[in-house]
């Protein structure tokens, strides 16, 4: 019995830590989407498909063209940042004053466009970037370096965004614009420019996520379908546009998935997480950290 408990605790600890590592990546995913929603008031339904394209970018650069991972990652981030800006310029900007449903449908269209494009251009096969990172052994516990690395990079990315938002004029304008759009011109702020920068920033975060997820998963044209829904649920659970709420919700979700998966199959972890989400929508429909209005 005592031996069982010792092993159980170690597994539990390992699972909790793995949940935290997973939560870091989820928090990064949620931040990009929250940023776009909070600032531009538009939901990028195709957010996960930008990540998918970024993952293909990494796969081709690293696996096919032999670019070192460290050099490929910034290129991939820039690529997806550019796609974010382009998405805003071509699709969102013309629809800014349209009803939200039109904006949703338009970005939904981009989702299917990117999926079909990836299927035609890259094929439906699963591709692996071909980087095998070792496993860290701590006593009885195992942690993959891929997860540790992605957690650290996600954290650095989020801290960088935080500092940018707090310290720079553009970052302050990004925070201000969500609070009062109409008077931004009085401050000398060109809202179109801020929207474009925000979109590039959101895209850049999707690009960073792509660089990290490609270490953990194979890429295929439909991988967005396994990344997208959970990212949206985290954002909604945290309160759409609420950065801190999204951050907290990401870790809550990750722990439910991780711990739920420990007692049964990993899929049950997801079932539990989505069940938890549905219950929370009844209890706190505006999100975990909703402001009372």
């Amino acid at each position: 019995m005592q031996a069982f408990l010792d092993i159980f605790d170690i597994y539990l600890l390992e699972t909790v830590i793995n949940g935290i590592l997973f939560g870091g990546v989820l928090a990064l995913l949620a931040l990009g989407l929250n940023l776009i929603f909070g600032v531009i008031d538009v939901t990028w339904i195709c957010y996960a498909e930008l990540i998918m394209i970024g993952m293909y970018g990494m796969y081709y650069l690293v696996h096919v063209y032999g670019v070192p991972y460290w050099a490929a990652a910034p290129m991939c981030i820039l690529l997806v940042a550019g796609m974010g800006a382009l998405l805003h310029f071509l699709v969102i900007a013309p629809l800014l004053s349209s009803p939200p449903i039109n904006q949703l449908l338009a970005t939904g269209g981009v989702l299917f466009f990117l999926q079909s494009f990836a299927t035609v251009a890259f094929g439906v096969e699963f591709h692996n970037i071909g980087i095998q990172l070792p496993v860290l052994r701590l006593g009885e516990m195992n942690f993959s370096y891929a997860r540790l690395l992605s957690f650290a990079a996600a954290l650095i990315g989020m801290v960088a965004v935080y500092v940018f938002m707090k310290r720079t004029y553009v970052g302050t304008a990004i925070r201000a614009i969500a609070q009062d759009r109409q008077i931004m011109a009085l401050m000398g702020v060109d809202t179109r420019r801020i929207y474009l920068i925000t979109s590039a920033l959101g895209g850049g975060l999707a690009g960073l996520a792509a660089c990290l997820l490609v270490l953990l998963y194979d890429v295929h044209p439909f991988i967005g379908l396994s990344i997208g829904p959970i990212t949206f649920l985290i954002c909604v659970l945290g309160g759409l546009g609420n950065f801190i709420g999204g951050f907290v919700a990401a870790f809550v979700f990750a722990e439910i998935i991780s711990l739920g998966g420990m007692f049964s199959d990993l899929e049950w972890g997801y079932v539990l997480a989505f069940g938890f989400f549905i219950v929370m929508m009844f209890i706190r429909p505006a999100g975990l950290l909703s402001r009372r209005s």
Binding site: T172, A185, V189
Partner: protein
């Protein structure tokens, strides 16, 4: 300094201003008085570019304001303190002031301007890390005026600075306008509080139903029978 010629403006099918002519000379304080819904706020918005007039011309020191993109008008030296203050409620006082110095020319002088604003409003220095939305109405008005002053403007547009404030605070706000004027700033102020505003301005216009119905020096306006009857209640 600022010249409006036969300006028509409105929203959708509603016209709020009809052929408004108005002039503000350098160093002057000019008031625009009139009842609710006369078009006073529209007038301010047209000058700062928040809405564009349908007809007419606006010039600031010889520059065509209508040919300037809205977000560049503040660079012409026009700073607008909007109706209801419109601070960013969930930004700190300091960040609100920082937004006032957003344009590149102003950023370079951010620290000097911040010192100037803190000198003018020591209360803002005490509250610099507080969220703007949590302050009292009077403090928020100081912060809004401070934010406009961060851009080192030549012309300050004040839209109903006394609205929603307690009488004592209204006094303080008008005292403040006097002090800002004394610093050499040109001021255009829109007010319903006619009695008070006529004590701080040199000249005033009477705006009714979107039309300028009269103008004169503050003393003349105070003596005018129409104004006495309609606005001063004497």
């Amino acid at each position: 300094m600022l010249t409006l010629k036969s300006v028509d403006a409105g929203y959708g099918s509603f016209q709020a201003l009809f052929g408004v002519d108005l002039e503000v000379k350098a160093g002057e304080a000019v008031g625009v008085i009139g009842p609710n819904g006369a078009g006073k706020t529209t007038l301010m918005r047209v000058i700062s570019g928040l809405i564009r007039p349908r007809k007419g011309s606006i010039a600031m020191q010889g520059t065509d304001v209508l040919a300037t993109p809205a977000h560049r008008i503040v660079s012409l030296g026009i700073a607008h303190v909007p109706e209801n203050r419109r601070l960013f409620p969930r930004l700190t006082v300091e960040d609100n002031l920082k937004m006032g110095a957003f344009m590149p020319e102003a950023r370079r002088h951010h620290d000097e301007r911040l010192a100037f604003v803190f000198d003018l409003f020591p209360r803002m220095k005490e509250r610099r890390h507080q969220l703007a939305g949590t302050m009292s109405g009077g403090e928020q008005q100081m912060c809004a005026i401070g934010r406009a002053l961060m851009s080192d403007p030549k012309l300050l547009l004040l839209d109903e600075p006394s609205a929603g404030l307690a009488p004592v605070v209204v006094q303080q706000v008008f005292e403040l306008v006097k002090r800002i004027r004394a610093g050499g700033l040109t001021v255009l102020i829109v007010e319903q509080n006619v009695q008070q505003v006529l004590r701080v301005v040199d000249r005033a216009y009477l705006l009714e139903a979107g039309t300028i119905r009269g103008s004169g020096t503050a003393a003349e306006m105070l003596q005018s029978d129409t104004i006495k009857q309609a606005y001063l209640g004497v």
